[in-house]
């Protein structure tokens, strides 16, 4: 396990570069993001441990970052002052470009993984904006009408994107649909809907809606999304049958889940970071072998917790963080288990999830 200390700045987000296996970006904020500056670190993994190759200071807290898919030296930041900034790490001090359209804190930025010419940002002002780095203003604004903590492009289509927001809904937008009254919104899934009743189990009781903080598209199954948030549950949805409710529910975290991300190597594995100061590795039970056993058990009897659904389970946890864990990301390269996490303990940890998985 490698460690780097982001002295004075509490980490909010960590992202591996899609171009280099040894480069990590970390967005941090002073004073836990309450007030003060932000800083984006570009870390290099070297034989001597993790070193900071570069950093940029910003006027306001930074809540998220994402690497450009089109340019290996560029990355975006999401600012607490509503700005989205594009930095080039070969330059010093100032961003290449800054976009200021959001009225409130920007909480997520994400680059289009297929189109590579656009990116999005989502904000507490209840909008998702789609941008082109060449254009000085946003291309499209998609309203969600509620505090949108997380938005992402689909890794399978350049025109599909999704968001989760504080109204406990997962939204899917398809930019190919005509611009009409629905503003490209094609799906609006209530996350708190309980799973369909099953044979031999009592009908599920209603679950109150709660804020959804994070979500991610599965990298292999193009209709599968995972969401998580304040109700401490990780759920997976299939957008082909959105009305059927979640296809898997993974309870376990003790506090809200701040970030989840699907493995780029294994279709059923996902990683989560939570306010309970742990990062956990999960399987959603869809993989051959591991999932089946869970399924069988599931069909025959209720799990002790009564919430587990879909045969998923926690495979391991990493408890090294001493404050809330806020960011986690998989390494795209090399062996399949490497990942990086950050938290409010001002630390970035790089570790191998396979060591934890059982």
């Amino acid at each position: 396990m490698l460690e780097f200390r982001t002295q004075g700045y509490q980490g909010y987000s960590v992202k591996y570069s899609p171009f280099f296996d040894s480069r990590i970006a970390v967005a941090g904020s002073a004073n836990f993001g309450l007030v003060g500056n932000g800083r984006i670190y570009i870390l290099g993994l070297t034989a001597n441990g993790i070193v900071a190759e570069k950093w940029f200071d910003t006027q306001d807290s930074l809540f998220d970052t994402t690497w450009s898919e089109a340019h290996e030296n560029q990355l975006l930041t999401a600012g607490g002052d509503g700005s989205v900034k594009l930095f080039d790490i070969t330059l010093s001090d100032f961003p290449v470009q800054s976009w200021q359209e959001h009225a409130r804190e920007v909480f997520a930025v994400h680059w289009n993984l297929v189109g590579k010419d656009t990116f999005l940002s989502s904000s507490w002002d209840g909008t998702i904006k789609i941008w082109n780095p060449q254009s000085s203003s946003s291309l499209v604004t998609l309203p969600t009408h509620s505090c949108t903590y997380s938005a992402e492009f689909s890794p399978h289509s350049p025109s599909l994107l999704s968001s989760v927001s504080s109204d406990s809904h997962l939204r899917v937008f398809d930019l190919r649909t005509p611009a009409s009254a629905s503003n490209h919104l094609t799906l609006n899934i209530p996350i708190h809907t309980p799973p369909k009743p099953r044979m031999g189990t009592p009908a599920p009781v209603g679950i109150p809606p709660s804020e959804a903080l994070t979500h991610d598209w599965n990298k292999y199954r193009d209709t599968i999304l995972a969401t998580a948030g304040v109700d401490r549950l990780i759920r997976t949805f299939d957008i082909r049958m959105a009305a059927a409710g979640p296809i898997a529910v993974l309870p376990g975290h003790e506090y809200a889940v701040r970030r989840i991300t699907w493995s780029p190597h294994l279709s059923d594995i996902l990683l989560s970071a939570s306010y309970d100061m742990t990062c956990r590795v999960w399987t959603d039970g869809s993989a051959m072998g591991t999932g089946n056993a869970g399924m069988m058990k599931q069909e025959n009897m209720l799990d002790a917790q009564g919430m587990v659904y879909g045969g998923g389970r926690e495979m391991g946890r990493m408890g090294r963080h001493t404050e809330f864990a806020t960011g986690v990301d998989w390494c795209l390269f090399g062996a399949e288990g490497w990942c990086a996490s950050t938290g409010w303990d001002e630390r970035v940890l790089v570790w191998d999830a396979r060591a934890l998985m059982q």
Binding site: Q10, N31, F32, G33, L34, V35, G36, N37, Q59, D60, G80, D81, R104, E105, W124, S146, C147, S157, L160, S166, D167, V172, D174, R176, T177, P178, S180, A181, T186, L187, I189, S210, E211, L213, T223, G229, V230, I239, R240, M241, A242, A243, E254, Y255, A256, R258, Y275, M277, G319, T322, E323, F324, W344, D345
Partner: protein, 534 residues
């Protein structure tokens, strides 16, 4: 539901969406726009020649041209669009035009049967003239619009048409000039007199109108007795605010005028100290006078002072302590039970003062300047501090209460409260990590007010002592007096209970968004309006 069940990339579904696309009005207009050749009276139309002949006949005055010239008005508004349509004629317009003006015009048959043309022409220009005759007086706006159209290239005889228009225009111009000459002929003195008379009449009618708006008959009668000068003043002050809030201010202005009249009729003050108080603190002065009159038994004189106190609270003294002091003085009067009339008047005045203080002095404002010392100093100088132990005790009590409230009512409070809530939620977590968490330690200190946010920094409160700062002058207008405020506000000045606090407390900017994220509520006191954003 079918939408939700099918994937978004279903080709057929997209096709169906195209067919059911939400066409806005604009899109409708754009797509249904027709080519110019279909427009009204386009030059390429086959009927052009026929219509020219008709128009010539029309212009030659076959049907009462003089009448036309005399009563020439711009076309009725309904006809207006036609003139602009020779380039673009939407469907509806051409439909309308067919309907209203020339029923036989668009028929293509016309060109093959020239013999029918005269009858068509007759109906066309007769219709036109009928329309003109039935038009009511046109507004200047329509004049302008019409003039604009004549400037454009009109296919139906632009020159002749403009010529026919020319005559009435010059008539109007002449008429204006004549009128101006007439004015010069007037004797100036006579004119001034007449003007004054007219103004007075106007004032009278306006005043009557104003008076009739008042519900209270006694006030109405009183107003009718006003001399000329006061009427003028009243009207002026009324007119100056009329535009904004007519109904609300009407009665207030009337009351104010009435009170200044009463005040003016009061005996002139000769004591220089009291005179000073009268100028700087009219409320205190009125209260002193009131007390004086009651002490001396002049109950009939006392009533106007109460009235005046009530009226003066419309004047922005900006000094809460002064109003408080007056309320206390009135309370004293009430306690003495002089007469039911005075007691009830005093009580209602206290009510109105309280209402005003409570609705205009924001509960959350940093602090209210309480400077009763100066009042007492001034009164001591005037020799009025003979016996006021009761009052002093009470005001002290009040200011103490205020001091208690003040620290609870600023931004830090929200922060401390939010931090406290967050800590409550993790209170049952006894793990070592949570016990040693720096973030939670910061929350603890925020809750206990050892730390506070200042600008974009966390500041240790213990290291800096910047309390007792004076209230910054606010440029914003005070809020309206809420007449119902006493119904729902506590008057014992205890800790206010905000029922909305429960839901609001967690939001970063204390908006109404439902925030259930137990950790994100640390942001609830994050302030986008903080100076470092600017």
């Amino acid at each position: 539901m079918a939408d939700a069940l099918c994937g978004p990339s279903n080709a057929l579904q997209n096709f169906q969406k195209h067919s059911t696309v939400d066409r806005t009005l604009q899109q409708d207009r754009l797509t249904s726009r027709q080519s110019p050749s279909q427009g009204f009276r386009s030059s390429s139309g086959p009927n052009t020649g026929v219509l020219d002949a008709e128009f010539n006949a029309f212009e030659a005055g076959h049907t009462g041209a003089p009448q036309l010239h005399q009563r020439f008005h711009p076309p009725p508004p309904a006809l207006g669009p036609q003139f602009a349509q020779h380039t673009h004629a939407p469907n509806w317009a051409s439909d309308f035009q067919r309907l209203s003006l020339a029923p036989s015009y668009p028929q293509p048959l016309q060109q093959h049967h020239p013999a029918q043309a005269p009858s068509a022409a007759a109906s066309w220009h007769q219709d036109f003239i009928n329309q003109q005759a039935s038009t009511v007086q046109a507004s200047p706006q329509q004049h302008a619009g019409f003039g604009g159209h004549t400037g454009r290239s009109m296919t139906w005889g632009p020159t002749t048409f403009q010529g026919s228009l020319g005559a009435p225009v010059s008539n109007v111009a002449q008429g204006k000039q004549r009128a101006r000459e007439d004015v010069e002929v007037f004797d100036e003195a006579a004119f001034a007199q007449a003007f004054e008379q007219a103004q007075q009449d106007q004032l009278h009618t306006d005043f009557e109108q104003l008076v009739s708006k008042i519900d209270d008959p006694t006030v109405r009668d009183k107003l009718r007795l006003y001399p000329e000068q006061q009427r003028m003043e009243l009207m002026e002050s009324y007119n100056s605010v009329q535009a904004s809030q007519e109904e609300k201010n009407l009665s207030r202005i009337l009351e104010q005028t009435e009170r200044t009249r009463i005040l003016d009729s009061m005996p002139i003050e000769d004591d220089p100290v009291l005179l000073h108080i009268k100028e700087t603190r009219p409320m205190v002065y009125a209260a002193i006078k009131l007390k004086n009159d009651i002490d001396l038994g002049n109950y009939s004189d006392a009533l106007p002072w109460i009235e005046q106190l009530k009226g003066l609270d419309n004047i922005q003294s900006g000094d809460v302590s002064e109003e408080r002091w007056c309320a206390d003085a009135l309370q004293n009067v009430v306690e003495r039970h002089v007469s039911s009339e005075i007691t009830s008047a005093a009580e209602s005045t206290i009510m109105s003062i309280n209402e005003r203080i409570m609705s205009q002095q924001s509960l959350l404002s940093a602090g209210v300047p309480v400077s009763q010392d100066r009042i007492w100093e001034e009164l001591a100088a005037a020799g009025y501090t003979t016996r006021t132990p009761l009052q002093e005790q009470r005001t002290d009590q009040r200011s103490e209460q205020k001091k208690e409230e003040q620290p609870l009512r600023n931004d830090d409070d929200e922060m401390a409260e939010t931090a406290g809530k967050l800590l409550e939620r993790v209170a049952d977590n006894t793990s070592e990590k949570f016990q040693n968490s720096q973030f939670l330690e910061l929350m603890r200190r925020l809750r206990d007010r050892e730390v506070r946010v200042e600008g974009d920094k966390m500041v240790d409160v213990s290291s800096e002592q910047t309390l007792s700062s004076p209230l910054p002058a606010t440029a914003t207008a005070p809020p309206e007096i809420d007449p119902m405020i006493l119904d729902y506000s506590a008057q014992d000045f205890g800790m206010p209970v905000d029922s909305g606090m429960e839901e609001v407390g967690l939001s970063r900017h204390s908006t109404n968004e439902p925030i259930t994220d137990e950790i994100s509520d640390q942001f609830s006191y994050y302030n986008v309006n903080a100076p470092y954003h600017k």
